[in-house]
């Protein structure tokens, strides 16, 4: 009597674990199918070329103009700005934490980085609106502080923890022997770090930067709060822009289900998905290549 019931239990547990295991795969596939089904319908009202390359995003005018080029450029500009700030800062911080800081300070810094990662993006956005935006407005003498640059700064803060943590792991993973070899040749600490250790850590550092980019590119809330959300093709970092993510967040609630606008927003989602996927894939490939060596 006992044996069959135990076998049944084993069977059930096994199946349950199996379901949990493949759940994420199923969800990804379902989400993608859903996105695709809704998004592709945008091609009924506009061609692929005028959707991706159109200069105007007037989704509720008649006829609706559904060109997302300003949104793509807005996202890219904000991301590029954030990366230009966060990557050098993050890598330098990682080197400091991994190789220079005394032990106690290292522990403190590491927990600070973790706290930084734990701040909700809406809170950062709130700080952005109340502190950063007026500050930039007065310093650069701009008509408005709600610019791509403000978004870049906010996002840089959000990408920093990712970049620091992963770069630091990569630097720590560099074999001790490289360092000893360089020091034993009479190289200074600095020369050892920037001529030898960095070569060992490079794939990991690049992956860290890529994951940081992915984080920045997909971020919505803080960006929406500080970038001004004007869907025009940006001429400089100091103008308002609108990103792909902010567009979906801001307009999805108001778009009538089944309208061209509604489908266009799903298509924006697909574009976002594809770009994010490409970024993460690149990071993965680089990370794995680093591990194999």
């Amino acid at each position: 009597m006992k044996l069959p019931s135990r076998r049944l239990r084993e069977f059930l547990i096994e199946k349950l674990i199996f379901l949990s295991g493949i759940a994420s795969v199923v969800f990804v596939v379902l989400i993608f199918i859903f996105l695709l089904r809704e998004g592709v319908s945008v091609l009924k009202t506009t061609s692929l070329g005028s959707f991706l390359g159109g200069h105007f995003w007037y989704p509720i005018s008649t006829p609706a103009k559904l060109g997302i080029l300003p949104l793509i450029l807005g996202s890219l500009m904000v991301t590029a700005g954030a990366i230009a700030i966060a990557v050098p800062l993050g890598i330098a911080a990682a080197f400091y934490i991994a190789e220079v800081a005394p032990k106690r300070l290292r522990t403190v810094l590491k927990s600070c980085v973790e706290v930084l990662a734990a701040i909700p993006s809406v809170v950062l956005g709130f700080l952005g609106i109340t502190v950063l935006v007026p500050f930039l407005k007065s310093v650069f003498n701009l008509p408005t502080g709600l610019t791509a640059f403000s978004g870049s700064i906010m996002l840089a803060f959000m990408a920093l923890p990712t970049i620091i943590t992963i770069s630091e792991d990569a630097i720590n993973a560099v074999p001790r022997e490289y360092k000893e070899g360089a020091l034993a040749l009479g190289a200074t600490h600095w020369q050892t770090l920037f001529r030898v250790v960095i070569h060992g850590a490079l794939p990991g550092i690049i992956a860290a930067a890529m994951l940081g980019i992915g984080r920045v590119f997909g971020e919505t809330m803080a960006v929406m709060m500080v970038t001004g959300n004007a869907a025009v093709i940006p001429q400089s970092l100091f103008e308002p822009v609108r990103t792909l993510t902010a567009t979906i967040a801001a307009e999805m609630g108001e778009a009538a289900k089944g309208s061209a606008h509604y489908f266009a927003l799903f298509a924006v989602g697909i574009v976002l998905f594809v770009i994010s996927f490409a970024i993460n894939l690149t990071a993965d490939i680089l990370l794995n290549r680093g591990k194999k060596k």
């Binding site: 020091l183 034993a184 040749l185 009479g186």
Partner: protein, 260 residues
């Protein structure tokens, strides 16, 4: 090997006097005194944990990298105490180079591995640097094997080539002393033989101190030998004497294989 080198009375290149070293509470070196003659191979033998590597790492102050190390005593390089504050570590380590147990070429090309030292010490650049790289590789018999692979990653070399490359790095910075920490322990017998032949050639120009587990190796390559046990330098003298007429009972027990 056993011939008189004529250097018996030359001033020692390296000398330690009354050296004590602690890792935390553990005393790893106990009142060690020894001197290392110029252009001579000195072997340090003893069982694991006897302090021979620790002693070696004192000679170019690599122990500085370890936390919680305390050192007492004098370490003299060409008569100057290298433990003084005004002693430049980079200059010291350039002259007193080290070859490690596991070959540790940098993850760079063959050329860049050799060029690293001359570059950081600003000793050569451009065609001078090319010449120095060639000369250093020739000194370790690697030039003919690697001259067409200078741009290849050094990580793709064989273990033995890597170890010789690491020795070539020291040649490139015009080191005076080569400290070798079990340089052959990861190599097979054929590769070991090649490295030993190389050491024999290098001793014409360099002072070599080699730590080895392998008593036969010590007997083969060195003119002088120090036997260490539990942090003490039990006996130090000419290799022939140590291996044929050890003065201390413990040395005799070790070299006859009674323990170790």
């Amino acid at each position: 090997m056993n011939e008189t080198t004529g250097l018996e009375h030359a001033a020692p290149v390296l000398e330690v006097r009354g050296l004590n070293l602690w890792y935390g509470d553990f005393q790893a070196l106990i009142d060690v005194s020894a001197s290392f003659r110029p252009r001579t191979i000195t072997a340090l033998i003893g069982s694991s944990g006897c302090g021979k590597s620790t002693l070696l790492r004192c000679l170019n102050r690599m122990n500085d990298l370890i936390d919680d190390v305390r050192i007492e005593g004098e370490i003299l390089y060409n008569g100057k105490n290298i433990r003084r504050r005004d002693c430049s570590l980079t200059v010291l380590r350039k002259s007193v180079g080290m070859v490690f147990q596991r070959p540790n070429p940098f993850p760079l090309s063959v050329y860049e591995n050799i060029a690293f030292g001359p570059r950081v010490h600003r000793m050569a650049s451009g065609t001078n640097l090319d010449a120095r790289v060639e000369e250093s590789l020739r000194a370790v018999n690697l030039w003919d094997e690697l001259k067409d692979r200078l741009r290849k990653s050094a990580l793709s070399l064989s273990l033995e080539q890597k170890q010789r490359l690491c020795i070539a790095r020291l040649v490139a910075v015009e080191a005076e002393v080569l400290l070798m920490d079990e340089p052959c322990s990861t190599l097979d017998p054929m590769a070991t033989m090649k490295v030993e032949e190389l050491m024999h050639r290098l001793k014409e120009r360099y002072t070599i101190v080699i730590v080895t587990h392998n008593m036969q190796q010590a007997a083969r390559v060195s003119e002088e030998t120090g036997f260490m046990l539990l942090g003490e330098l039990v006996e130090f003298g000419r290799t022939t004497d140590i291996f044929t007429r050890p003065a201390d009972k413990r040395t005799e027990d070790y070299i006859t294989g009674r323990f170790g």
